[in-house]
Subunit: 228 residues, 2 copies
């Protein structure tokens, strides 16, 4: 059975994001996948990259460089326990699903902190092992999110620009950089402004997509896909 990690960032289980997460757990479990959820708010996940992430002495205590210290700590097994736990989950996963409401054209800070702190050098990448040779190659990622703005606002030529523009830092800058292949995003536009009926359809569409997810081809994660 395949292994899936769902990194989930919503405060409210009754939200559409909460329902989308539940639908994914149910559908993927039904398929025989083993599904793990990192429920970031429930875990009170720490988003700040600080000295607390390093157990024991620093590599250079004169001048704190987070990237270098996390890298060195990773190599000697000296990262804080919460990071080691998340890295184990990533290591085992065939697919990572990121489920969140779009905050300011990006993920909520609590999820950005997960990226900042979990995907350390040595674990997820290590020059020249980045992009197609990143250390997390052979894994898949999928960004599943809800928006405040409507589909028209996020159209090419719309006031907020093509939604693909804002996917570049997340899909290419983070996932592709680590060697992860990216499946097409799953976007629920403006669920707060549609009927309960429409929201139910959104859940059904997600469950439906998941049924054939493993047959999907990753996107071509190059500038053409985003800015053609």
């Amino acid at each position: 059975g395949r292994k899936v990690l769902i990194v989930y960032a919503h405060q409210e289980p009754k939200s559409l994001n909460g329902s989308l997460k539940r639908v994914a757990v149910e559908e993927l479990s039904k398929q025989g996948c083993s599904v793990t959820v990192s429920d970031l708010y429930a875990m009170q996940f720490e988003p700040r990259a600080t000295r607390n992430d390093i157990v024991g002495c620093l590599h250079n205590s004169e001048e704190f460089n987070y990237g270098v210290e996390a890298w060195e700590a990773y190599k000697r097994g000296g990262l804080s326990n919460d990071l080691i736990e998340e890295q184990k989950k990533v290591q085992e996963a065939d697919l990572m699903i990121f489920q969140f409401p779009l905050y300011w054209f990006s993920m909520p800070a609590i999820m950005k902190g997960w990226m900042d702190r979990v995907l350390v050098q040595g674990f997820a990448h290590e020059f020249p092992n980045c992009y197609d040779s990143g250390l997390l190659k052979n894994k898949l990622a999928l960004f599943s999110f809800t928006t405040g703005g409507s589909e028209e606002m996020y159209a090419k030529g719309g006031i907020s620009g093509d939604i693909r523009y804002l996917l570049w830092p997340m899909q290419h800058g983070i996932m592709h950089f680590c060697g992860v292949k990216v499946l097409a995003p799953h976007i629920c536009f403006a669920p707060e402004y549609v009927s309960e009926e429409k929201r139910k359809e959104m859940l059904i569409a997600w469950a439906q997509r998941l049924k054939t997810l493993w047959k999907e081809e990753p996107i071509n994660c190059s500038p053409e896909w985003y800015f053609k």
Copy 2:
């Protein structure tokens, strides 16, 4: 005298980011500006958007919706004190400078949390008051940051793509959305891989730019600037 708010996110005062921040405080103060710094790590600024941001009763305690609750709390003066403090600083500022190391094609989570929590509806925007009519119009913003990757990697056609691609969510999606006009970014490429001499030149160049900053015209914050 003009008022400047520097939102600063680095753990180490001795870092280049720390020096860039100090240079800005010194040069702008010398010009007669009044300068305020939000030193996010030193403040242990909270990046997570949670129920703790709302003082007293919720608008809807059945189903927690952060955006709605923060909006309602703002209107009745019921946001947490740390947010009220930051909003006062924003309100008074003519210019906001964001100083940070680029983490994963974006700002560090602690700064993303500042955006998520401080720029609430009612304060920074309120439909239809967004983009050119955003509530923070008549203010300027400038993103000043350091990168890990080199200028070549961030060139058009380079492996990480034109650096402007990753500025879209921050400059357009956040600042422009709130009506803030954006000055050209200030980017120090790969300071960790250059000589001490070169790093000093980076500080001098920043001080030099700041001398004539108030004469600069904002960029044209539309897709053409980013993806032409």
